[in-house]
């Protein structure tokens, strides 16, 4: 368990934040730029001394330790590689000082795909390569906790897509908790186990990603790209129909056939606006996934034209956005059983490990 609480004031900004999250796992600090994510991370690394601060990781209080003895690895937004050292020496910098850890030099190099860069100087690296080296350098310092402050925000979309698989692999290989700050919902839904929503120096809500993304009472639900996340395992492939069955708890979700072998952990993202609700079984319809669910909560959006519906399924929770009119016609209310119709084509999937 990671427990953090902070109170800090500077230049007219006041921060009061606290959260706790299970470890290991990826804890995403999600919020707009300027919400206080970096201050929180700097405090966790010991680089910022807030007026009040508590930090406890698996029962060990860390707030009094100086940054160099705290064992908190930090991947900065801007990489901060040492310009006068080769990539190899950058990687070894923390290795020499942090003591031998579970991650070996060659493993980190292989995991991050930076073997060909070892002899180069940081100024001869691309932005994506630089961030991968920065991640490797932090990993090799044998941290008990890894902080990543928007590690992809300085990169273009192509570079992000290049690094995200490495990060996903990292989360499944590492046994240490990762705190990942981001203002990209896409990154967060792909990586996070726990979601901490931060706005204007406050923690709005915190909890498991799969629950948080299905709640109607959070600002998340109002986003155009709102959507629930289901975690599941590849069950079987149906090549003759071009489909793959993913088992999510008691449910099967069908997606267009994927390459991952059966048994692979995947997370599915279902955009709220792509979920159709029905109160009786439709026939002669192209939708592949018809899942039994019941309504947990209903809320209207700010304009009052759309209804946000939180659904509980056999193996998770989803969010649906329908018109207010539809919600009234179907008499959607907490407890009402419904069918959630999800096009296989609308489901985004990502491999967990």
């Amino acid at each position: 368990m990671l427990r953090v609480s902070l109170e800090h004031r500077f230049a007219g900004v006041s921060l009061t934040m606290a959260f706790e999250a299970p470890t290991p796992g990826v804890i995403a600090l999600f919020g707009p730029s300027g919400a206080g994510k970096t201050s929180l991370m700097n405090a966790m690394a010991g680089l910022l001394r807030p007026h009040r601060f508590r930090m406890e990781l698996d029962g060990v209080p860390l707030e009094r330790r100086r940054p160099e003895y705290r064992g908190v690895g930090y991947v900065f937004q801007d990489g901060r590689l040492f310009p006068h050292m080769s990539v190899r020496d950058n990687l070894r910098y923390g290795l020499r000082r942090g003591g031998a850890g579970p991650v070996k030099f060659d493993d980190a190099v292989a995991l991050l795909g930076i073997g060909a860069l070892l002899g180069r100087r940081p100024r001869h690296l691309s932005g994506g390569e630089r961030q991968r080296v920065a991640i490797g350098r932090a990993l090799l310092s044998n941290p008990r906790l890894l902080l990543m402050d928007e590690p992809l925000s300085a990169l273009d979309q192509a570079r992000r897509d290049e690094i995200l698989p490495y990060l996903a692999r990292l989360r499944s290989v590492l046994s240490i908790p990762i705190v990942y700050a981001s203002h990209s919902l896409d990154e967060v839904t792909r990586l996070a186990d726990t979601l901490v929503l931060i706005e204007a120096g406050r923690v709005v809500a915190a909890g498991p990603l799969t629950e948080m993304t299905a709640r109607v009472d959070l600002p998340l639900a109002l986003r155009e790209d709102a959507g629930g996340v289901l975690r599941g395992v590849v069950n079987s492939h149906l090549p003759e129909r071009g489909l793959t069955a993913i088992s999510c708890g008691a449910d099967f979700v069908w997606v267009p056939q994927i390459t991952a072998p059966p048994g692979t952990g995947v997370r599915l993202r279902v955009p709220a606006r792509e979920v159709i609700l029905a109160v009786e079984s439709p026939r002669g319809i192209s939708v592949t996934n018809i899942l039994q669910a019941h309504v947990v909560a209903v809320a209207e959006d700010a304009a009052g034209h759309a209804a946000l519906v939180s659904l509980e399924l056999g193996g998770g929770a989803l969010l649906a956005r329908v018109t207010r009119d539809a919600a009234e016609r179907l008499r959607l209310a907490p407890g009402r059983p419904v069918l959630a119709l999800i096009k296989a084509m609308s489901v985004d999937w990502h491999q967990e490990d």
Partner: protein, 235 residues
């Protein structure tokens, strides 16, 4: 025209002239050697430190740059002279005499070049991104470690430039040296003092000209080296 005919290629120098050149090189080496560690500490304090009296320290360091060198020399005499508080103590305690000695010439040069060296080092330390030091910190480097592995290597070219500049400037120090250490051939008569003496002597232009040429070579060499080592070029 008579002057130009008397100026010849400076080599070979006479014994006395050689003595003045070697003395200058020795004095400058000692001025830089003793001044550099202190200049680095002061530069670090001014660049990274936040403490009361920072402004005062800054002003004190820059004083020799602003004062007429004669005044600096005289102040040194008041403090380090035979009757001065520090000078008397050094003589009584260690038998060290600074006024009117080669060591005194080195002290005078060291004080004069101190602001130059502090400035050069301070600028290069300030050019080192403190966020890199933070990164080193999260990787487990304590402050001495950080200074040796991050700050110093990145500020290194500036420190080298400070050394070359300080050394070159030392060779040219006149006012403070002649006031504090006097003009004793073979003991405190550095290059500029020897040139001054030669010019004061009837028919000394030839000697002055040759020594002046040596000064020019040393100065230009130093400047070229300092420019070559400046951080701007190495980036």
């Amino acid at each position: 025209m008579g002057f130009y005919r008397t100026v010849t290629w400076p080599w070979p120098l006479s014994g006395d002239e050689q003595e003045a050149v070697y003395l200058s090189l020795r004095v400058a080496a000692r001025a830089v050697g003793f001044g550099l560690p202190l200049a680095m500490i002061v530069a670090l304090l001014l660049a990274r430190g936040r403490f009361p009296g920072r402004f005062l320290l800054n002003a004190l360091v820059h004083l020799p740059l602003m004062l007429p060198p004669v005044v600096t020399g005289w102040l040194l005499l008041l403090v380090f002279g035979v009757e001065g508080p520090v000078g008397a103590w050094l003589a009584a305690r260690f038998g060290v005499h600074l006024a009117f000695t080669e060591s005194g010439a080195a002290l005078a040069c060291g004080v004069m070049i101190f602001p130059l060296m502090v400035r050069a080092i301070r600028l290069s330390v300030e050019a080192v991104d403190p966020r890199l030091e933070q990164a080193a910190r999260t990787l487990g480097a304590h402050w001495v470690d950080r200074f040796l592995t991050i700050t110093l290597p990145l500020a290194g070219p500036g420190v080298l430039a400070a050394v070359v500049m300080g050394y070159t400037a030392s060779l040219g120090e006149f006012g403070a040296v002649i006031t504090f250490a006097a003009n004793i051939p073979g003991q405190t008569q550095t290059l500029p003092l020897a040139i001054f003496s030669a010019l004061e002597t009837q028919g000394g232009e030839a000697v002055a000209g040759r020594l002046a040429l040596v000064s020019v070579f040393l100065a230009v060499g130093g400047l070229v080296l300092a420019e070559f080592l400046s951080p701007r070029r190495l980036k």
